[in-house]
Amino acid sequence: MHEIFFYFLVALTALSSLSVVLGRNPVNGAMSMILALVGTAGLFAMLGSYMLAALQILVYAGAVMVLFVFIIMLIDIPATAAYRHHWGTLVAAILSTLTLGGGLTFLFLAPEFRQSMPEIAGAASNGSGLVFSSQAVAYGAGLMGKYMLLVQVVGILLLVAMIGVIVVSKDLRATNSGKSLPTPPAN
């Protein structure tokens, strides 16, 4: 049962990822991307990280993909002209992808990775590392304890990103051409 579910999730994620990469319509691509992210969330849940599965669906499949769909609808791309490649580009892209995928698969088939997952219940602390747990309270304790500084740094990063988006989104050409500047009254 476990394995059937695993292979179902893998097929869902891989096929929808391929649909993102090869599909012609970006809106369909965004929908397939949501499916791929939900499939990955299912894999997270199978690994016992229920908290990360929920976060993945909330943040990635929810917020980030809504932003994508919104922008795709906003800028109205013509669906044609998606594929006009030099054949050299095509061959190079496919060759390098096959090399990367084959290399990674070969690497991950090494005998030291062919181990079954240990039981979560038998987890014990080994020095400074946090112990794996499925419960959300463990994540909270880790974030508010050991990784407090990192949480604050990420907060500053989000603030910087927000300011950056506002600056980039402002139409600077309007002010440069002098249209928005009021002309002084001639007296």
Partner: protein, 99 residues
């Protein structure tokens, strides 16, 4: 399930995202493929974290997701700004730094 199952899935997803980044000319699809690659790495993090029974890798995924969200926000703002400039989102049009 063994550890290598999850690792191979992660490698395949990363390769698919890589293909999208190399192959596609639509900037939005390139950004989505980048997200796929980040997602594959997140899966790798969680699989190793579960295998080693250490929560640190899982907590790192929190930060990875946050940084990815910030990256998407800035990236999409840049795409919109470029669209205003060129009326297209295809990467061939963006060659300001060439000359």
């Amino acid at each position: 399930m063994m550890l290598s199952h999850y690792l191979i899935v992660s490698g395949i997803l990363f390769s698919i995202g890589f293909l999208g980044v190399l192959l596609r000319k639509n900037t939005l699809v390139v950004l989505m493929s980048l997200e796929l690659m980040l997602n594959a790495v997140n899966l790798l993090f969680v699989a190793f974290s579960r295998y080693n029974l250490s929560l640190d890798g899982s907590i790192f995924v929190f930060f990875s997701i946050t940084v990815a969200a910030a990256e998407v926000a800035v990236g999409l703002a840049i795409v919109v700004a470029l669209f205003r400039l060129k009326q297209t989102v295809f990467v061939d049009a963006f060659n300001e730094m060439k000359n």
